[in-house]
Every structure is written in structure tokens, then in C-alpha cells.
């Protein structure tokens, strides 16, 4: 890595990043803490945000990212380095977050996050309204909305992640949008 980084003429920043990443993946596969920490610094925040948007609570997001990185060295054995690493990591994170959602019930009780002081939340009122409306969506609708509209997955990919058909993903997104729109209009 050092040789590549000090690189000769013609080694672009992208190539250096690529080489760094390959090194980090190899190191993380071998269970090296430094390599794992480098991958965390590069992708941890993005994965945490994805987990937070899917689960709706910082505690669950923290546990999801913890589990993803603790399991990463062994899981990297299945990463074939064909697609982008961040795309693969996001799919793994989404699956772990969705597994967590499935084990969670939301009947009657308030999630801990909903009781946290609002200083932890976005300051703007409109953002807050949108955030609250998303939180109020049932898990099965929120997960489609987040994966499709925030993360930019196609319906086919959302269907694959959630174990539903592409058509069901479209229907759920439609329902999520309708509910969201209604909640935002009612809140005005």
C-alpha cells in the first residue's frame, strides 16, 4: 500500500483509494483491527444513518452497525469484489436492520427514541414533521420508503432485500407516500 500511495507518476487519487480499499478488505478479512477500523471510518457513518432510518432509533442503529462490523471479517469471505463495497455493505446493513425490525413489535408501547429530548432531533420544524411522519409509518411501509426514496434502490432490489415481489414493493411505496402526505397535510 505504501508503495502505491507514494505512487509513481500517473497514480490517481481514485486508484490510491481503490488500492487502499483492497488492502483494508484483505486486512479486515484477516481480522486485523486496524483494517476494520479503517473500513468503519470510511463507511460507518453512512451505514449508521441507513440503520437509523430503517429502525427509527439510535439504539437499534448502534446495535445494527456494531453487529455488521463485528461480523464483517467473516462475511467479507463472501464479498466477491465485483460491485462496490459500499453497496454491498449497505445491503448487508439493511438486511441486519430488517431482521431487527421483524423481531420488534410496536403495539401500544413507545420506542425509546420517541421519548428522547428533541435536542437530539433535527432542529427545523418541517424536518421534524417529516421525521415524525416517517417514524409513525408501520415498519413494512417505512422500510420500502427508506430503501427506495432515500437509498435509491430499485423496486426489484427492494423486493429482494425484503423478500417481497417487485409489485408488492410498488404497492407499499404507494401506500407509504399516501399516508405520509396525509400525515403532513393533517399536521399543517
Amino acid at each position: 500500500m505504501q508503495a502505491a500511495a507514494s505512487g509513481g507518476a500517473g497514480t490517481s487519487i481514485d486508484q490510491i483509494d481503490q488500492i487502499d480499499q483492497i488492502d483494508h478488505i484483505a486486512g479486515a478479512r484477516a481480522g486485523e483491527p486496524k483494517a476494520l477500523a479503517s473500513l468503519y471510518r470510511a463507511y460507518g457513518a453512512a451505514l449508521y444513518r441507513l440503520a437509523y432510518r430503517l429502525t427509527g432509533t439510535p439504539q437499534d442503529a448502534e446495535d445494527v452497525v456494531h453487529d455488521v462490523f463485528v461480523g464483517l471479517p467473516e462475511a467479507l469471505g463472501r464479498y466477491e469484489e465485483r460491485g462496490s463495497l459500499v453497496g454491498w455493505l449497505k445491503r448487508v446493513t439493511a438486511r441486519v436492520a430488517l431482521m431487527r425490525l421483524r423481531t420488534r413489535t410496536r403495539r401500544g408501547e413507545v420506542t425509546l427514541d420517541a421519548t428522547l429530548p428533541t435536542v437530539d432531533r433535527p432542529a427545523e420544524v418541517e424536518s421534524e414533521a417529516l421525521r415524525s411522519a416517517i417514524d409513525a409509518l408501520p415498519d413494512r411501509l417505512r422500510s420500502v420508503l427508506v430503501l427506495k426514496e432515500v437509498e435509491g434502490y430499485s423496486h426489484a432490489e427492494v423486493g429482494q432485500l425484503l423478500g417481497i415481489s417487485e409489485g408488492a414493493s410498488r404497492v407499499r411505496l404507494n401506500r407509504a407516500m399516501k399516508r405520509l402526505r396525509k400525515m403532513l397535510e393533517d399536521g399543517r
Binding site: 476494520l36 449508521y48 462490523f69 448487508v92 413507545v110 417529516l130 426514496e149
Partner: protein
């Protein structure tokens, strides 16, 4: 900006600073997590064809008849373990996997003065596919002050009554034997546990960090074992007897539950004839929410506590905020749910 753009621009919190060190500490402590694999895409039609083919094979095999394999009488362990009324049955005679290290710090700062006696009766229900509900079991947990070897202890017991309506429609009432334990009130460590069933006698004594297990089975093929195993963790740390709901119920009374609280305790299951395969592993507890829960015994403000054992088992417990009563439990699987809810309590709910 459209609201879709707003959605994408919606801020989310940053991960806490200590998360990386928590991850590295877990790895260093030997924690391993098996992440889900990518699912191969299978079309609905192919899936239906596969299901149909599997059904045909099952049908063919079931109509072939033939001799059933006889029970392996040499394997006394599975036979004996299956006779014990642990719940759920994954404590029984499974091949033990390497112990999972605790996810959290050991529980501490127990509010032992909050522990109190009483009797709590629960209704246990199973729900299949969110449709078929069976509520055929009731169990009662009793906690009282007692003495053992001149020492003040908590005597905790549980008995269960189940109505069985299979294989025919005739309803049989089955009462499982009384399950009792003495618990040290200062540390919440069980010191003696006994189940006296029809045809078997099962005892666990705990001295220091060792559990001494004794099992005697009578009847036509009497068998028994005497075995010991070490209990990990500090000698004054509380632990629970796996799947015996009563000691979790007592522990909940004294845990300093609050927002964000988490802690791990060891659970001690069946040691069996091979102590290297003893079912001793941590259970990880975490407050994940709070809410008002309505059960037949009343309405309670509760902490919602997630109980995890290894990677597979997740149980949700609701503990009342005022006295730490176990109000409700829920075990959720993709197509199955087991719930228990408080029916009545003595003394009655405040």
C-alpha cells in the same frame, strides 16, 4: 425542494464516538456475528414448483410405510433431558455450541432492597401465523422469604398447568412438577434448585462458582448422573437458571432499569454428562422502550426489555416501572409467537 428531496436531505444522527471501540472490543473478546447472506432470486413460479415437488416427495415417503427407527437407548442424555420441563425446548439435549461472550457489561448496582414476595399468575398463549391462538397454559410464580441452613433466602417457585387437546379432542389437564429455587437475597445468585417430578428427581446445588447437578430417573430403566460445571463471571454476580422464568422475574425486581440500560448475566442450563457441553451462556438484557401495557391483571407502565441469548433467541419482557413485576413476555418467530401475560397478582397491583 420537493418533499422527496427533503426526505433525502433529512438529517440523521451521527454514530456515537465510542461505537468503534465497542466494535473492536467485541472482536477482541471473541464475539462473532453471522451476517445474513444474500438471498438468491427465485421467481414465484419456480418457488411454487419447488414446493409442489417437495410436497410430492413427502407424500410419497409418508405412504411408503416401513419400519420406524427404534429409539437409541444408549443415548440416555437426550432421553433424560427430554423428560425435564424446561421451556422453550431448545434447552434440551442440543449439541452445545461455543459459548457466546456477553454483549454487555455484567449487571451491577442491583437494588436488592426492592425485591419482594408475592404470587403472580400468567396465561401463556401460542399464536401461529397471527391467526391460530391457543391459550392452554397457566403458570404461577411465587416468591417468599424463607430460611435455608440458617441463612435468609428467597424461596422462588413455579408451577404450570397445561390443557392438552391433542392427539384427540379430549382435554387432559397436565400439571408440571413444582420447580423451586433458593436465592441469595444479597446477590440474587440461586443456591439450590430442585424439580421433583413423577419418576425423576433433579437437583442443582451452587457453591462458589460451581454448579453440582444430580439427576435420578426411576421406572423400568433407572438412570442417573452426578456432574459439575463452572459458572463464569464474578462469584457475587447474579445469574439465572436458564428458562426458569421465575428467577428472571425476581431479577427484574432489582435491576436498575432506565432508558439506555443494558447488562448481561449468565444463565445456567442443563450440565449433562459431559460438562464441556454444559448449557451455560450469557443472556443479554437491554431496555429498548417503555410504554403502557394492558394485561388481564391491569394496566402497567413498563420498561420493555429485550433478552437475547446467543444469536438466535430473542425474548421481549415487559417489567413494571414501579415494582419491577414481570408483566408480559413475548417470543417471536417468523410464523409463531409465544406470549404470557399477567392474569392476577397477590398482593394485587398497586
Amino acid at each position: 425542494m420537493t418533499w422527496k428531496e427533503d426526505l433525502r436531505a433529512l438529517p440523521a444522527p451521527e454514530p456515537p464516538d465510542e461505537l468503534l471501540s465497542r466494535i473492536l472490543a467485541s472482536r477482541a473478546a471473541g464475539v462473532r456475528v453471522v451476517l445474513p447472506r444474500e438471498r438468491p432470486t427465485v421467481s414465484r413460479r419456480v418457488a411454487l414448483l419447488l414446493i409442489a415437488a417437495a410436497a410430492a416427495v413427502v407424500l410419497m415417503m409418508s405412504t411408503r410405510g416401513g419400519e420406524r427407527r427404534s429409539v437409541d437407548t444408549a443415548n440416555a442424555y437426550q432421553d433424560i433431558a427430554a423428560a425435564l420441563p424446561f421451556w422453550p425446548p431448545d434447552a434440551m439435549a442440543q449439541e452445545a455450541r461455543p459459548a457466546h461472550p456477553p454483549r454487555y457489561e455484567p449487571v451491577r448496582n442491583l437494588r436488592v432492597a426492592r425485591a419482594h414476595g408475592g404470587t403472580w399468575t400468567y396465561q401463556a398463549c401460542s399464536v401461529f401465523d397471527d391467526v391460530l391462538t391457543k391459550c392452554h397454559a397457566r403458570f404461577t410464580i411465587a416468591v417468599s422469604k424463607a430460611e435455608r441452613d440458617g441463612q435468609s433466602v428467597w424461596l422462588v417457585s413455579q408451577h404450570e398447568k397445561t390443557v392438552r387437546d391433542w392427539p384427540s379432542d379430549a382435554k387432559d389437564t397436565i400439571r408440571t412438577p413444582l420447580d423451586s429455587a433458593y436465592v441469595d437475597p444479597a446477590t440474587l445468585r440461586p443456591i439450590y434448585h430442585e424439580i421433583n417430578g413423577k419418576g425423576f428427581h433433579f437437583v442443582r446445588r451452587i457453591t462458589g462458582d460451581t454448579v453440582h447437578e444430580t439427576l435420578d430417573i426411576g421406572g423400568a430403566h433407572p438412570r442417573s448422573w452426578r456432574t459439575n460445571a463452572s459458572i463464569p463471571g464474578a462469584r457475587d454476580a447474579p445469574f439465572v437458571l436458564r428458562w426458569a422464568r421465575f428467577d428472571v422475574a425476581l431479577l427484574l425486581q432489582v435491576l436498575p432499569l432506565e432508558r439506555g440500560w443494558r447488562g448481561s448475566v449468565y444463565s445456567v442450563g442443563l450440565v449433562g454428562p459431559d460438562p464441556s457441553k454444559a448449557a451455560i451462556s450469557p443472556i443479554d438484557l437491554r431496555v429498548v422502550g417503555s410504554g403502557r401495557i394492558e394485561v388481564p391483571a391491569g394496566t402497567f407502565d413498563c420498561w420493555k426489555v429485550e433478552l437475547r441469548q446467543g444469536d438466535d433467541t430473542r425474548l421481549t419482557l415487559w417489567a413494571s416501572k414501579d415494582r419491577g413485576w414481570l408483566v408480559k413476555t413475548e417470543l417471536r418467530e417468523p410464523d409463531f409467537r409465544a406470549e404470557s401475560a399477567l392474569l392476577s397478582a397477590t398482593p394485587p397491583a398497586p
